[in-house]
Amino acid sequence: MIAPGTSVKQSSEPSAKPVGGGKIAGAILFGLAFGFLLQKGGVGKYNVLIGQLLLQDYTVVKIMMSAVAVGMVGVFTLHHFAMVNLHLQPTRIGAQVIGGSLFGAGFALIAYCPGTGAAALGQGSWDVIFGIAGLIAGSYLFAEMSAWLKRTVEKWGDKGKLMLPDLLHLPRLPFAFGFAFLLTVFLYFLDRAFPG
């Protein structure tokens, strides 16, 4: 049983058991829905993605912040009533500043990201194939260096699992609702500035 409001499971941990029937149905159904939504949201398109990075088109930020606001309210409510586990990646300042920045530089070149790239492939944007080849090569390059990175970069500023409300000593559920409200206010002004 999950302890209400406290249980946190590390998502980087590989699960012990193989994928069962219910899991397979979930993975396929939710993947289909996610790919469908990404394409309908326009984020499988080169111009919409690169347009965000050139600060011409704000579709990506609007989708992400709406998803985060809605997701946050539901996941923290479910977690409060001990119905879901949280899956937190550890906070590692060095690895995440360097990794996030490398990711961003790559994002500008390929324009698609790992999820939207899959949707782009589905809609027939074949230029993503070069990017996918790069993603596979880059993953292997990381694996080549993983032992060394684990001993060095991943140790720099390793704070373990760290949540914003815990850092600020505030209760999680009200914090999540307040944060989602602030995101909504931000989206309101973003839409005033960049309608659509």
């Binding site: 939710f30 809605v70 899956h87 994002f107 589905g122 993503v128 949540m163």
Partner: protein
Amino acid sequence: MKQLVITIILSLTALAGAADFGADARNYDGAAWSPYGVGAAIGVLSWLTFYFSDKPIGASSFYATLAGFIGKLVAKRHTESLAYFKTNPPRIDWSLLFVTSIIVGGFIAAWTGGEIRNEWLHPMWVDRFGDSIALRGLIGFAGGVLMAFGARLAGGCTSGHGISGTLQLNVGSWLTAICMFTAGIATAMLLYTVL
């Protein structure tokens, strides 16, 4: 730190206002549906993946799994000796099925909306950088390498950190997402200014 971030954002916004990137993303086909509707639906989808699958939405580990499978075909012992593949052995897992289904979902959405593109180069790319597939391939491949390396080092991508991690109020995910977009904006503006 905070001041530094604000300064970077303000100067980038100023640059965006002043600079001529030689192409405007808004002149090409945009989204079929409202970004707020799509975003809210993805938020609800994340409740479902947490509840039914005990998983957050994420995509980047899919490519690492593929790299592991290919690596094992080419150099089995070497691949199995690598630290990353020891803790994450390549196998048909939730994420593999999830991302494969994203491809199909993207196809269904494009097909039903009459938006199947079937093209090697996007018109905006052609208008700005010309019709060389080799140039697009080189830049796309380099971008993919940087992106996957960065995602593995940071522990996730625009979905895993950018949506699933930030919605869990994970400090590291907010840090990663801010770095992703800051570096992404700077690199894209550089690319569209100098290339």
